[in-house]
Symmetry: C2
Subunit: 196 residues, 2 copies
């Protein structure tokens, strides 16, 4: 049933866009129905509940985020792998309108059973960067977790200040941030190594 699936995706597109703009709790099922050009009752033919809508939207966003960073695994050089990861992550944040907001702001609105899947994926995604950093600087030891948190912060915050006309395209910004982070991480690791 291709038609059904297509409509389902379109409706999730509308929901995702509204959640990203206004937040989950500020968006009503009527808003979603209006945006998707369907009646409110018709919406429930495709979505069991508003909670499920949020759950579906979160999963989709994660799919895309992971698809964008998965190419980093193709590189054998750890530096290139990190660089590709940052590029993929940042590209998702800075394009796709502002749908990353749903993950960052509205994921907490998921009830317990719906959220467990997404939370596991989030932890794994975080851990993949920790591992990458640990491989890049084996002497960093316990620093990798803090460094991963710092790097994710740098990246996740970028949409609040990034302006294409002032900062160049996404690739250039990704490289600047990678360099900024990596120089700090490397020399901190060297200090930690020297003092041990």
């Amino acid at each position: 049933m291709q038609a059904y699936d297509q409509r389902h995706e379109d409706i999730l597109d509308s929901a995702e866009s509204l959640f990203a703009q206004q937040g989950f709790h500020a968006t009503s099922m009527r808003d979603i129905a209006r945006a998707a050009c369907i009646s409110v009752a018709g919406l429930y033919y495709y979505l069991p509940s508003k909670q499920h809508a949020l759950s579906f939207v979160c999963e989709r966003i994660f799919d895309r985020l992971e698809a964008g960073t998965a190419e980093s695994a193709r590189y054998s050089d750890p530096y290139e792998r990190l660089s590709a990861f940052v590029r993929g992550h940042l590209r998702y944040l800075l394009t796709n309108n502002r749908s990353y907001r749903v993950l960052l702001h509205d994921m907490q609105a998921l009830d317990r059973e719906s959220s467990s899947g997404v939370r596991v994926r989030r932890r794994r995604y975080f851990q993949s960067l920790v591992d990458l950093l640990a491989e890049l600087e084996p002497h960093a030891e316990g620093n990798a977790r803090v460094a991963a948190g710092a790097l994710f912060g740098m990246l996740n915050w970028a949409p609040t200040w990034y302006r294409e006309e002032a900062d160049g395209d996404v690739e250039a910004t990704a490289e600047r941030l990678t360099e900024l982070f990596l120089r700090g991480f490397r020399s901190s690791a060297l200090v930690a190594e020297a003092s041990s």
Copy 2:
């Protein structure tokens, strides 16, 4: 009217706590009333509207944030000034429960006229860090804005990964992040200088 002001503050405390935990739109006036041990109607003796409650809460949070970083101005050395700024900023984020969330997530729920004041303060706060960084590395030129964005990202994201038992106290974490950022910022600036 000391009693009135005290009660007013108590009510804002309750509102702030609930906004931080659940978000603005997920918090009802009935929730606030229950937390503050007052009737719903009684709430309106102290607050003109829910929007005003959010506005008051945001202003209070900014007051405390600025009070915590204001001491950095006492130092003449730019490095120490940055270090103190980071310490003050991070101390606010990592203590005071999770009230920073109201600024980061719910400020956008303010309507146009209520938000202009807070938005101006936010811009000024950001600019103060840009200026500080520009002073620290005069050769960095246009990098200061991006660097300030990166640093704020590192700091604002910290509450999502920080755990006292694993990362030490707030001061130690502030110093680690300051070093991590500053080593990267300085060597990036040197590169930019050398290539010009």
